[in-house]
Amino acid sequence: MLPPSSSVLILDGPAIERALRRIAHEIVERNPALQDLVLAGIPSRGVEIARRLISIIEQIGHARPEFGRIDVSMHRDDIRERLSPVEVSQLPLDLEGRTIILVDDVFFTGRTCRAAMDALMSFGRPRCVQLAVLVDRGHRELPIRPDYVGKNLPTSLKERVYVRLRGPDEADDSVWLSKP
């Protein structure tokens, strides 16, 4: 779905690139053992962001964190309201002792993150779980907060945030805010 023409551009390509670089530096700073790190993207755009973060971390940190993908749809609590496509998860066989960073595009109510944490625990018992998001738009409904944020974007509940990324969207990298 395209952002409506009245939308306001919040981040352009270079701004997204800068935000991801900063997050990558913060991740390296907080996690000296990069080889124990798994960046697990939440489909669909979280997966693309996780891939990009991994290649930036590899450039700056000399070690490559492992890539993961975590399906959250079967752990959601709102199956009657929205039936999201279920995807195959991809995670290391043994999560014991690993640090998992969940990666998503927009952080909103916190329910997706809760579902992702539940899903993760069914695969094993990681040592630590962190959360990285490109945009935090507020309106939390659960006591969860991100560890790494690309852009804090105060919004009203009526507004919508659109993230477009090269790759999954076949569009230029951009973040838009649509007014009601």
Partner: protein, 310 residues
């Protein structure tokens, strides 16, 4: 969003190729749940599933039951011996009672064709057809197609040969619909009494000599000879059936080396298939059982999230 919008799964005939593919893709994700440390997801937590098996079945019922457990649903089993149907209650009344108990999903096996459709039109609950008479058995077809796709990477363009009791087989009917919609070529084979020429109208080839068609098959699906459905003799003897249509060790030699051998079970060793062939590496009979669980999880998940059509 997914392409799946239905609350019920009643037949393969009514599904589009896109809907079938949506179920297969969803099944692949649910198959992975079986390899996790915790083989259970909360997707259907708080939902009640009724396994309503008017016609006896063990393996399909257990597969649905386990699928529901893995989705965290609560399960009630009703079999002919515990059901009031034997006391003269109609199917509709029994079903309305189930709905009054807030059953979210009813998995129905019934000896009458159209029974699942009948309930789906009258109840708010999701209805999953687990076999209605000789009509359809959609989850069996879905797991067969899933198994073929998993091994071959595709369905379109493959040549699938279905051998055996086609006339009485809801498995065959559902498979034919699913395979044709996904672009496969289907040939049916068996005694002319069990494989009438009329099936050609569905868009499949019909053969009464399997030795001519086996060398070109990518998949051979052997159906069980259903003694219980046959009121009269449809072929002279089991010995003659084996001679003409059994997948014997000798006959298996003319198959392609990578031809898949399938059977919905329970197998009659030495009749439809030689024991040695059933246990050979080309046989995917046990994969079908494993995949059946994943496919049924996907179906329950999708139907629970679907809405009543129309």
């Amino acid at each position: 969003m997914t392409t799946w919008k239905r609350k019920d799964l009643l037949s393969m005939q009514e599904l589009s190729a896109d809907e079938i593919t949506a179920v297969l893709d969803t099944s692949a994700a649910f198959k992975q749940v079986g390899s996790r440390q915790i083989k259970k997801v909360p997707a259907l937590r708080g939902k009640t599933l009724v396994n309503f098996f008017v016609e006896p079945s063990t393996r399909t019922r257990i597969s649905f039951e386990l699928a529901a457990f893995r989705l965290s649903a609560d399960v009630v089993n009703i079999s002919p011996t515990t059901s009031s149907l034997t006391k003269g209650e109609t199917l509709k009344d029994t079903a309305r009672n189930l709905q009054a108990l807030h059953a979210d999903i009813i998995v129905l096996r019934h000896q009458s064709a159209g029974a699942a459709q009948f309930l789906a039109e009258r109840l708010q609950s999701s209805i999953v057809n687990a076999g209605d008479g000789a009509h359809e058995h959609p989850t069996q077809a879905l797991l067969d197609v899933f198994t073929i796709r998993e091994r071959k990477g595709r369905i379109a363009g493959l040549h699938i040969v279905i051998i055996g009791d086609i006339l009485f087989s809801r498995v065959a009917r559902s498979n034919i619909w699913a395979l044709l919609k996904l672009g496969a070529r289907v040939t049916l084979a068996g005694p002319s009494t069990l494989v009438p020429r009329a099936f050609a109208e569905m868009g499949v080839a019909v053969s009464h000599s399997i030795d001519d068609i086996l060398p070109a098959a990518d998949v051979v699906n052997l159906l069980r000879i259903q003694h219980e459905r046959q009121q009269k003799q449809f072929f002279p003897s089991l010995g003659e059936y084996v001679h003409l249509f059994g997948l014997t060790r000798k006959r298996a030699e003319i198959l392609k080396p990578d031809c898949l051998i399938m059977h919905p079970g329970p197998i009659n060793r030495g009749i439809e298939i030689d024991s040695e062939i059933a246990d050979s590496p080309r046989s995917v009979i046990l994969d079908q059982v494993t995949n059946g669980l994943a496919v049924r999880m996907a179906v329950l998940y999708l139907c629970a999230g679907g809405k009543k059509l129309g």
